[in-house]
């Protein structure tokens, strides 16, 4: 009964009806879990066809809106301008019937008893009523089970009519939250909890598992085909060559027969494109010879080719020469200078890359290039040669005997193997994929790296009456990813709230996202330039990003604004900070008051900057004696040990201390992974990275490190799961 009141928010909430229940943490949690579903509905409404369906839902949901504890529906009710008049009418009418509704709720327990013949456990959720209500109370029971540690059993629920988006949302957020709830529990327990929740809600826990990313490969292929297609215009140039060539032949009194027969045999276009690819190879070669004598080199190369072609009538010999050339390039035996020459694979990549960057322009350039000093040059050269030494029909004959088909096949094979074989197309696909990811990420992150905070989209805490309090509460409970959302809602509401920004920054740091941590802390500093915690946090974050100058600036700022040590600071230092001066000042401060843990913390950070790890370790140990329960200090000590490459045991002992104090400290999990990886224990590092990522899938660093560890541990089979960020698969494969 008391549970019900918690869920429904009690009578007080029922009267006001429209304000969401801040006094109701459970309701808010449920809101957090399914909050975005209303947004999904909003989106649906934008689609004309969906209008009929949603208006129906509205009818259905409206009575719920008037019921206590049903804050879920408000965003969508308010947002729908179209129907709002009607709703208002409906509402006022319904307000009179509020008492009825309330009575109905009061009656529900009886219904419960009727439905649940078996003795119901105290936290048995209400399993009837409108879908939203069922869902919210069921989620409450999930959250509740975490407190008591009672395993959640799958429960049959009535049809809820959840959309695909709702399901996705519930699945993602419940699994992240579960990792935080049960940070100290085993992986199996967490999985069974989540699976119980999901199966009750009829959400397929595996539907998230993306296959082998067919989309990407298809895209890759498209690009490749496209690039091949664009090559075609170039063929005209070579077509022209054929014509020109035959004209030359005509001038010299030779019959056109050769050209015709050649065309008949191999098709002009086909040969032309072969020739063109050959040209591309040769262009590479002439780049190797030095950019300034491009034309000369091209002539040289083509002459060599022509020479070979005319001199040797043994096609096998030709092939072997060509083979040697191509394979030398693909084996990387050719010494390259200043990026000018790549092996066949590199050239493919470069072409491809350019293609991707500026499709048409590259094609133009290529065609232009070909026309200006490719075939034309060759033709001229060929023509002059022709003029110099009169034609011998023999050459023509030999040339046509060369089994160009074989040659073309061989070439095709070479390109196939040489260009793609060496580093297997898989690798390229991955590299390409990563490149795409990187581009997307850099678009998103370009703001972050310049110190601008990037807000999450779809934040269910927007509109929450007191997101700061909610955020503090969530942070205290260790639900870091949720706390980020709540705190973001706070600073959107009050951009000048230094405390909101500060806690947001701390949360990001603990969640192992230094870019966002720095961005948030900078805003906190703007709002409150002398906040010591903010200055210290900024110093630490910049130290982590290896930005020494910035770190020094903030750590010195800490000293300058400190009520006690401020007098030590020398104003003239601000513009030209030297590490030695700052370190000296802090040592003085430490002598002034050896009982102040903060000074030792700053000293420890400073010694990390100067890589005097032994001193840093000593400082952190001193600080820990004064503040043994500061989990972030344990992590700092562990991280310093890791950076100074101490034995694994020492590092892990300290990190474990941090995790004992704060089980969902994502940074500490990630650091455990790093220390294992640095000691070459890649399999172990993978487990810790995966654990960290399960709690914060947005920790980009950990994803990158995970990838490195996977390839070092020869687990290339899981790279795909890493690239598609398939946490379910990774957790199954690497349980901790």
């Amino acid at each position: 009964m008391s549970m019900r009141e918690l869920v429904t928010g009690g009578a007080a909430c029922a009267v006001s009806g429209s304000s969401s229940s801040s006094s109701n943490p459970l309701g808010a949690l449920a809101n957090a879990l399914i909050g975005s579903s209303s947004k999904t509905q909003e989106r649906l409404k934008e689609i004309p066809n969906a209008a009929a369906a949603t208006s129906h839902t509205q009818f259905y949901d409206d009575p719920v809106a008037a019921l206590p504890g049903s804050e879920l529906d408000h965003p969508f009710l308010q947002s729908n301008a179209q129907g709002s008049d009607f709703i208002r009418g409906f509402r006022t009418a319904h307000d009179n019937g509020l008492a009825d509704a309330w009575d109905e709720i009061q009656r529900q327990p009886h219904l419960d008893r009727v439905y649940n013949a078996a003795p119901a456990p105290p936290i048995q959720p209400t399993l009837d009523g409108p879908p939203q209500r069922v869902l919210s109370s069921f989620l409450h029971s999930f959250v509740d089970s975490s407190r008591s540690g009672i395993p959640l059993h799958p429960t049959p629920l009535p049809l809820l009519g959840l959309s695909q988006g709702d399901k996705q949302c519930i699945r993602d957020r419940s699994s992240i939250m579960a990792r935080h709830f049960f940070a100290d529990k085993s992986e199996e327990f967490i999985n069974s909890q989540v699976n119980a929740l999901l199966s009750s809600l009829e959400i397929d826990s595996d539907s998230h598992a993306k296959g082998p990313m067919p989309g990407r490969f298809r895209e890759l292929e498209d690009y490749w085909n496209e690039s091949q297609g664009i090559l075609k215009p170039g063929a005209h140039a070579a077509d022209g060559w054929v014509t020109e060539f035959s004209q030359h032949r005509a001038q010299h009194g030779d019959p056109d027969a050769w050209a015709h027969s050649f065309e008949q045999q191999h098709g002009a276009g086909g040969w032309a494109s072969e020739f063109e690819q050959e040209q591309a190879q040769l262009t590479l070669v002439d780049q190797m010879r030095g950019g300034n004598i491009v034309n000369l080199a091209a002539i040289e190369q083509t002459r060599m080719l022509a020479h070979t072609l005319s001199q040797n009538d043994d096609p096998k010999f030709q092939n072997s020469k060509f083979l040697q050339f191509v394979s030398k390039m693909s084996r990387g035996e050719l010494i390259i200078d200043d990026n000018q020459v790549k092996p066949a694979s590199g050239s493919w990549a470069t072409e491809y890359q350019q293609q991707f960057n500026g499709g048409a322009s590259w094609a133009d350039e290529f065609v232009h290039d070909e026309v200006s000093h490719g075939p034309a040059q060759w033709v001229n050269e060929f023509a002059t040669e022709r003029e110099q030494e009169p034609v011998d029909d023999q050459w023509v004959n030999e040339f046509s005997k060369l089994h160009v088909d074989d040659w073309a096949e061989e070439f095709g094979r070479q390109v196939g193997e040489g260009a793609l074989g060496d580093s297997s197309s898989d690798n390229w696909a991955t590299a390409y994929d990563e490149f795409l990811n990187e581009q997307v990420a850099s678009k998103e992150r370009s703001d972050a790296s310049t110190g601008v905070y990037v807000f999450s989209d779809m934040n269910p805490y927007v509109g929450h009456p007191n997101p700061l309090k909610e955020g503090q509460e969530l942070f205290r409970k260790g639900l870091l990813s949720e706390a980020v959302l709540a705190l973001e809602a706070e600073v959107m509401k009050n951009p000048e709230n230094a405390e909101g920004w500060r806690l947001l920054g701390i949360t990001h740091a603990e969640n192992d996202d230094d870019q966002q941590a720095i961005a948030a802390m900078m805003r906190a500093q703007e709002a409150d330039p002398t906040n010591l915690e903010v200055l210290l946090a900024l110093g630490v974050s910049h130290t982590n990003e290896l930005e020494q100058a910035a770190a020094l600036k903030y750590l010195y700022g800490w000293l300058r604004h400190h009520p006690k040590y401020g007098t030590l600071a020398l104003p003239e230092l601000v513009d030209s900070l030297y590490y030695a001066d700052v370190a000296r000042l802090f040592n003085e401060a430490a002598q002034m008051s050896p009982e102040d843990a903060d000074v030792h913390v700053v000293l420890g950070v400073l010694y990390n900057l100067s890589r005097e790890y032994d001193k840093a370790i000593a400082s952190f140990k001193t600080a820990l004696k004064l503040q043994p329960n500061d989990y972030s200090l344990w992590n700092k000590l562990g991280a310093t040990q890791a950076n100074s490459v101490q034995s694994a045991d020492a590092i892990l002992a300290y990190q474990q201390q941090a995790l004992d104090l704060k089980p969902n400290y994502v940074r500490a999990w990630a650091n455990m992974g790093i220390s294992y990886a640095n000691q070459g224990m890649y399999e172990d590092s993978i487990r810790y990275y995966v654990r960290a990522l399960a709690m914060n899938p947005k920790a980009d660093n950990a994803w990158q490190y995970l990838r490195i560890s996977l390839s070092c541990a020869s687990r290339n089979d899981m790279l795909e799961a890493c690239d598609s960020r398939n946490l379910e698969l990774l957790q199954k494969e690497f349980p901790l």
């Binding site: 200078d337 200043d338 590199g346 490149f435 990003e545 890791a642 490459v645 990886a677 070459g680």
Partner: protein
């Protein structure tokens, strides 16, 4: 000099210590090549600082390689080197974008992967 300090300096210092460990020795066994890495603070070609990562002897030294020719020479901007060494940027992509210049043997260059560098743990 606080203001001319490169981010990469930190990483090379860590590398120094790292090579003395078992994992580091494993690395010299596996790769056995000498790399010279030039780091430019802002723009390639200007104020470059050179480090030699000798994975034959297991040493990191500041300055150009003296003892012949390194197997491969890389040139990066400070930021880009950090990105490659910490796995933020794939070496192949860095090369394609011109963020990484290579001189020397390509097969040697291909063994230059992010996993040879230790990762900084975070405070």
């Amino acid at each position: 000099m606080a203001n001319t300090e490169l981010k990469s300096d930190n990483l090379f210092e860590m590398m120094k210590i790292h090579l003395a460990t078992d994992a580091g020795k494993e690395l010299t066994k596996k790769i056995g090549l000498v790399y010279q890495i030039n780091i430019a603070p802002k723009k390639i070609g200007f104020d470059e600082v050179s480090y030699v990562v000798d994975l034959k002897k297991g040493e990191v030294t500041k300055g150009k390689y003296e003892g012949g020719k390194p197997d491969a020479i890389f040139t990066f901007k400070d930021d880009d080197f950090i990105k490659v060494a910490t796995g933020k940027m794939h070496p192949q992509i860095a090369f394609m974008r011109g963020a990484m210049k290579i001189k020397g043997s390509l097969s040697a260059a291909q063994k230059f992967t992010p996993d040879i560098f230790p990762k900084p743990a975070k405070l």
